[in-house]
């Protein structure tokens, strides 16, 4: 019986994450428009886009292309289930941080396989940039993980959230300030926001990986981006902002983080790939290492 309950909860959480993700992107587009003194699309614009994309015919380059993009979407769907959000915590004793990160890399691998099987060099260059960028932001994030693990002496997100319960003062944001800043910059890289969006640079490599993705494949890509957005901000909330008591505060906190990322995205130009990686290995890594040393000593 509990399996059925867990199944329904899982699907519910999946749907929630998709909806919240799309809503965030919609609101994000509205805010960026407002920053550019434009009127901007309605917040639910992305739901229209998704529905239109899924109802549009499309071309594919063989079953590796389809399998890859489906894997990209569903691996993230599988990862979101383990993320503790507010009071919804489906598998409390099974949400190890490293496991979620590696599940997300499964999504990237799936998408990478699908996209580069199309044979379009733009796509593969995009993937090469994405992987390099991943190496870039993964290193400071590792420093952050290290310091959080040591600090709260536990690896599962549920326990980390528990460790931060109580008032604002014992949030990790306060207790591990350098770690938070480093993670924030790494989050910018993870979300693929402006300074680090060389992977889908429309002008240079014709929107990178998505060059051959037509109707429903682009829909899968957008769904994957929204769930990824939800998970990454969710992890940051759990790690540093003390994971909320109920789901709505959790989503509010997520939006705060996303809003900050959006602000930077609206203004910043785009890094070159090696500049991006070396930037990631300079300041955020330094902060992360400083934080790790503080925690360890």
């Amino acid at each position: 019986m509990t399996i059925l309950l867990k199944l329904i909860q899982g699907i519910g959480v999946g749907a929630l994450s998709i909806a919240v993700g799309l809503l965030f992107i919609g609101i994000g587009r509205k805010i960026t428009a407002r920053i550019q003194r434009r009127y901007g699309p309605p917040p639910i614009q992305n739901f229209f886009d998704i529905f239109k994309l899924l109802s549009k015919r499309s071309i594919s380059h063989g079953f590796a292309f389809d399998l890859g993009l489906i894997a990209g979407f569903s691996a993230l769907l599988a990862a979101v289930v383990f993320l503790p959000m507010g009071q919804i915590n489906i598998f409390p004793h099974n949400s190890s941080l490293i496991m979620i990160i590696y599940l997300m890399t499964m999504a990237y691998l799936g998408m990478a396989m699908g996209v580069s099987s199309s044979g379009n060099p733009n796509a593969t260059i995009g993937i090469a940039r994405a992987l390099t960028m991943m190496m870039g932001y993964e290193v400071p994030f590792a420093a952050v993980i290290f310091s959080v693990y040591i600090f709260s002496r536990t690896g599962s997100l549920a326990n980390i959230v528990a460790a931060q319960s109580g008032g604002f003062l014992n949030w990790n944001l306060v207790r591990l300030p350098f770690g938070f800043v480093a993670a924030e910059i790494a989050l910018q890289g993870m979300l693929g926001e402006k300074p680090f969006d060389m992977t889908i640079a429309p002008s240079e490599i014709a929107s990178g990986p998505m060059v051959e993705m037509g109707g429903k494949y682009l829909g899968f890509g957008m769904l994957q981006h929204s769930i990824g957005l939800f998970i990454e901000t969710g992890i940051m909330v759990d790690l540093f902002l003390g994971g909320a008591s109920n789901i709505w505060i959790f989503i509010a906190k997520q939006f705060v983080l996303y809003f900050a990322a959006l602000m930077i995205n609206a203004i910043m130009p785009r890094f070159r790939i090696e500049e991006g990686v070396s930037f990631m290995w300079k300041f955020p890594l330094l902060l992360g290492v400083v934080q790790a040393l503080i925690v360890v000593l």
Binding site: I59, S60, I70, L77, A78, S95, L103, I127, E138, V296
Partner: protein, 622 residues
């Protein structure tokens, strides 16, 4: 005194003799190799922990008894190496690369003997036998000249390694008077408290040999050459199994008591010798990854990747905590599985495409779908992605590292693992994805034998990924036999880390459910139609007018060129300068000394007289 142990060693020797006779008929030779491997595996089932066998050999005046005894570690290593060997030889029934069966069987005999031997003479005999047999088999590579050079380089390293072990054995023999390994280690750990430096000296003699064989940081320069230029059928065995001998040796010679008490504990509660080994492991991991990213030859790429994975294993084992050693051995097993699979699939790909250069391949997934899937599962597990077996060990290694408060090591290991993802995808893309060039149109899928092996390997990787319990139990027994408290392995598939624990089947269940959801969504939305590889977005330019060919349109040359500038300063340090330096130095001295033999009689007579006079003076003064 169970005699089946001696069969484990004798059977391969007989098999190799038979194979040597029929070396002319290729298929017969491979069939015999496979049958010998299979029967050895069969005999292995009857071997249990604790059995021992010894036979006297009156040599050196004393009756020296060569004893074999089976500990948890050796039974584990025997199972994985022989099982993998059987799979490999089964697969290579269909391959026709220049791999001599009898050499592989000689190595198998040495392999069984090394894992079971309890006396140092036998250990050394088997080690040397495996050494020269593998050197000769590296000779059969595709490129004649390069494989000759690689074999020579490998030979020098392995011979100097075994000579340092020679020294170690006899210094121990001088101290304890016996050759048995367990007695010597007990003696060493008893005197470690008194003068640790002396013990460190002896153990490092052995460790040099093991590090050379495993290809760890200072001695890794022969690894890419040997793996890349050895015959394709031999590389899987060389990289998957033979690198584990070094690890086995390290585990044998590093019992807890030996290291723990003797030395002041360095940073983070780890004795400083272990600390150095952790750092050697980490450097190897990072070095392997960085060098692998920019390789164009696929076998060299995977050689560097084995190098980096062994760096992981050494870093984990050197931590010397229960989690560390479990993680290390678990990763060694995983590395054997996924690296073996990758090299086996490469065997098929290279024999069909005729080249091992990444930039000349591409788009093979249309022609070899099953090999494509095996390769995909292989790189997914090599990158450590959950449902497959690579994840469990990497996850445990990180936990072990973090538990020991080693920030820099963890960060570098993370860098190595994401770097691993980079070069794995590069290899995966350049071989299977992208544009299929026309001269690969005739490429066929592997035959039935190949398919069976590939399905078996895929099943093994997913099985040990989803149910790591089956492997963690024997590893727990090993850790207990080494005097540590093993990791609690409760329900099957429940991996308990230091910080958190994961119920691995749960991940696979959630993946399965979400995949079904994905497929449902896929088939609900509008239909798609399949398009040929030329019909790509080319900014409106029609490919035919533009003279577009699949080769030119495939992006696999200089895959990570922008990042090269990042690591450029890193490449300038030539690591194997030291070895090349000694090589040239000896050559120059050799030619200098040759001048002594000038060639005329008077000079020789003059030498004789001068020698005589010196002796007389010496005698007169003494």
């Amino acid at each position: 005194m169970n005699s089946n142990l001696i069969w484990l060693v004798a059977l391969p020797l007989i098999g190799s003799a038979v194979a040597a006779i029929v070396v002319r008929y290729k298929f017969l030779d491979r069939l015999i190799t496979f049958l010998t491997f299979a029967t050895t595996l069969f005999v292995l089932f009857s071997v249990h922990v604790g059995q021992s066998y010894s036979w006297g050999l009156n040599f050196l005046g004393t009756t020296l008894n060569l004893t074999l005894n089976v500990s948890h570690l050796s039974i584990f290593m025997l199972y994985i190496s022989i099982a993998f060997g059987t799979v490999l030889t089964f697969y290579s029934l269909i391959d026709h690369s220049r791999m001599k069966g009898f050499l592989l069987l000689l190595i198998l005999a040495a392999n069984n003997w090394i894992f079971m031997s309890n006396d140092m003479v036998g250990f050394f005999f088997a080690w040397e036998l495996m050494g020269w047999a593998s050197v000769v088999s590296v000779l059969g590579g595709r490129e004649r000249e390069k494989s000759r050079h690689a074999a020579l380089y490998y030979m020098i390293m392995s011979v100097s390694g075994s000579y340092s072990m020679f020294f170690g054995i006899f210094t121990l023999w001088r101290l304890t008077g016996t050759f048995s390994i367990s007695a010597n280690i007990a003696y060493l750990s008893s005197i470690v408290g008194i003068h640790p430096w002396w013990v460190l000296g002896i153990v490092s003699l052995f460790f040099v040999t093991f590090m050379i064989k495993a290809g760890i940081f200072p001695f890794h320069t022969w690894v890419p050459l040997a793996y890349a230029y050895s015959p394709d059928a031999f590389t899987p065995f060389l990289s998957a199994v033979m690198s584990k001998y070094g690890i086995y040796g390290m585990l044998l010679f590093m019992p807890l008591s030996l290291m723990e008490r003797g030395f002041p504990s360095a940073f983070g509660g780890v004795p400083w010798t272990n600390y150095i080994f952790v750092w050697i492991g980490v450097i190897t991991a990072v070095l392997g990854t960085v060098l692998a990213i920019f390789q164009d030859d696929v076998k060299k790429l995977f050689a560097y990747s084995s190098l980096s994975n062994l760096g992981y294993v050494v870093a984990a084992i050197a931590l010397f905590t229960p989690v560390g050693i479990t993680a290390g051995i678990f990763h060694a097993f995983n590395h054997l599985l996924f690296k073996g699979t990758l090299f086996i699939t490469l065997l098929a790909v290279i024999s069909r495409s005729g080249t091992s250069k990444l930039s000349e391949m591409g788009g093979l997934w249309k022609k070899m779908p099953i090999t494509f899937f095996t390769f995909f599962v292989g790189i997914a597990s090599a990158a450590g992605i959950p449902p497959f077996n690579g994840f469990g060990s990497k996850w445990l290694i990180y936990q072990a590292m973090i538990k020991q408060h080693l920030p820099f090591a963890t960060i570098l290991l993370f860098l190595a693992s994401t770097g691993a993802f980079m070069y794995l995808f590069k290899a995966f893309h350049s071989i299977f994805l992208g544009q299929l060039s026309h001269d690969y149109d005739r490429v066929k899928e592997v035959s039935a034998v190949g398919k069976i092996t590939e399905f078996f390997l895929m099943f093994a990787m997913t099985f040990f990924g989803v149910q790591p319990g089956y492997i963690l139990k024997p590893i727990g027994a090993i850790v207990k036999s080494m005097g540590l408290k093993p990791l609690p392995v409760m329900a099957n598939g429940y991996v308990t880390g230091m910080f958190s624990n994961i119920y691995v089947p749960l991940i696979s269940w959630s993946l399965a459910v979400s995949f079904t959801l994905g497929f449902i969504l896929f088939f609900v939305s509008a239909k798609h139609k399949y398009v040929s590889q030329e019909n790509n977005y080319t900014a409106g330019q029609i490919p035919e007018d533009w003279g577009l060919t699949p080769e030119t349109y495939q992006f696999s040359w200089n895959f990570y060129q922008p990042v090269e500038k990042l690591f450029a300063p890193f490449f300038r340090i030539k690591i194997d300068g030291f070895f090349r330096g000694t090589g040239d130095w000896t050559k120059t001295i050799g030619s200098a000394i040759k001048e002594i033999f000038v060639g005329n009689a008077q000079m020789y007579a003059f030498f004789a007289i001068v020698g005589l006079i010196i002796f007389v003076i010496a005698g007169w003064m003494a």
